[in-house]
C-alpha cells in the first residue's frame, strides 16, 4: 500500500486526510500468471494499480488475440472504455506474470472525488499523462513504419521485449509476428 501512496506523489501530493481516505478504499489482490482480471463482455467496475508484475489487454479478432496494451509496475490499469461508460468490455485483461494489485471500485472513486477535491485533481493530472502517452502511441501507429516502431520500443520501453512473448509484442506494435521476427534478426 505504501508503494501505491508513494507513487501517487508523481502526479500530485495529497494531504494526510486524503491519503487516509484512499487507503481505506483500495483492496489488495494477488493473481498468478495466466489468470484474468477481466473477460470480454463483462463490465469493468474496478480500477487497478499494478504494484508488481505484468499484464496485457487483448481482444479477439478472427480467432487471433490482438494485444493492444501492457501494464507493468506502477501502472494504473482498467478497461478504460468499459470503466467509464459502464458498457461491457471488448477486451480481456490477462496476467503475464504473477502480480500484486490494488483495486478500487468506480463508486468508491467517485465518493473520494466528492469528499476530496485534491483526489479528483490527482486523477485529472494522471489523465493528462496517460493521454499524452496515448497520443504518442497513436502517432507511432499511424505515421511510422514497422521498423521505426520497433526501434522506438527498443529505445523507450525495452523491458517489454524482455518480459513479454514475441507474439504479444507484435500485435502491440501492430505488425505480424513474422515481420517482427525479421526486423529483429537485422539487429
Amino acid at each position: 500500500m505504501q508503494h501505491l501512496l508513494s507513487h501517487l506523489i508523481h502526479y500530485y501530493s495529497l494531504s494526510n486526510q486524503a491519503n487516509d481516505a484512499l487507503q481505506g478504499c483500495f483492496r489488495e489482490t494477488s493473481l498468478g500468471k495466466g489468470e484474468y482480471l477481466l473477460r470480454e463482455g463483462k463490465v469493468c467496475r474496478q480500477l487497478y494499480f499494478l504494484q508488481s508484475g505484468a499484464l496485457r489487454g487483448y481482444y479477439n479478432l478472427d480467432g487471433k488475440e490482438i494485444t493492444h496494451w501492457f501494464g507493468f509496475e506502477n501502472d494504473f490499469v482498467t478497461s478504460f472504455h468499459s470503466f467509464i461508460t459502464g458498457e461491457p468490455a471488448v477486451e480481456n485483461i490477462q496476467l503475464l506474470e504473477g502480480s500484486i494489485l490494488w483495486s478500487i471500485s468506480k463508486e468508491q472513486l467517485e465518493n473520494l472525488f466528492n469528499a476530496h477535491h485534491e483526489i479528483e485533481r490527482l486523477v485529472r493530472i494522471a489523465y493528462e499523462k496517460y493521454y499524452i502517452r496515448l497520443e504518442e502511441r497513436f502517432v507511432n501507429a499511424q505515421f511510422k513504419s514497422a521498423r521505426e516502431r520497433y526501434e522506438n520500443l527498443l529505445g523507450q520501453t525495452p523491458h517489454i521485449l524482455e518480459r513479454v512473448p514475441l507474439g504479444c509484442v507484435a500485435s502491440y506494435l501492430g505488425i505480424s509476428q513474422e515481420t517482427l521476427s525479421r526486423i529483429r534478426s537485422q539487429f
Copy 2:
C-alpha cells in the same frame, strides 16, 4: 458565449457561481481561413473552444504536411502536449474555415480549478471522453486497413469529407492521397 456554456452541460452541470467565473475568463477570438492559432516551436498556452468553423493540427515531415487531427464546432482544441507540459509545440494549428473561438489561458484555468472543484470535475470528465475518442482512433490506426478506416470515417464523421481538402483527410487517416482517391472511386 452562451454557446460555450450550454455545451458544457454535456460534460457536467455547473452552478451559477462557477458559470459566472468561467464567463469572466474566456475571451472571444475570430480568425479567417488559413490563419494560424499556433505555429510549431511556440509554447501553446491557451485552450480554445471552437464555437463555429473548422481547423486542423498538422506537423511537417520531410517537407510534407501531416494533418493528424481536426477541430469542428463544439470541440475543445489546443496543442495538448505543449499546453500540458509547457514544451514547444511540434504542431501547427491552422484554420480551415473562418471560425469563432473562445480562449482561456492555462493559468486562468488553474485558478478556476482552485476556486471551483466542479470546474475541475468538468474537465476531468471531458478528458475521459477525449481519451476514449483517441483510443478509438488508435485502434483504427493500428489494426484497420486503409479501406476500413475510410469506411469508418464515412459512417462516423462524414462531415470531415465534405469540409476538408482530400489531402488533409488522407494524412488524418494515415494513408496517401492517391490511395484515398482510389478507395473513394470504388464507392
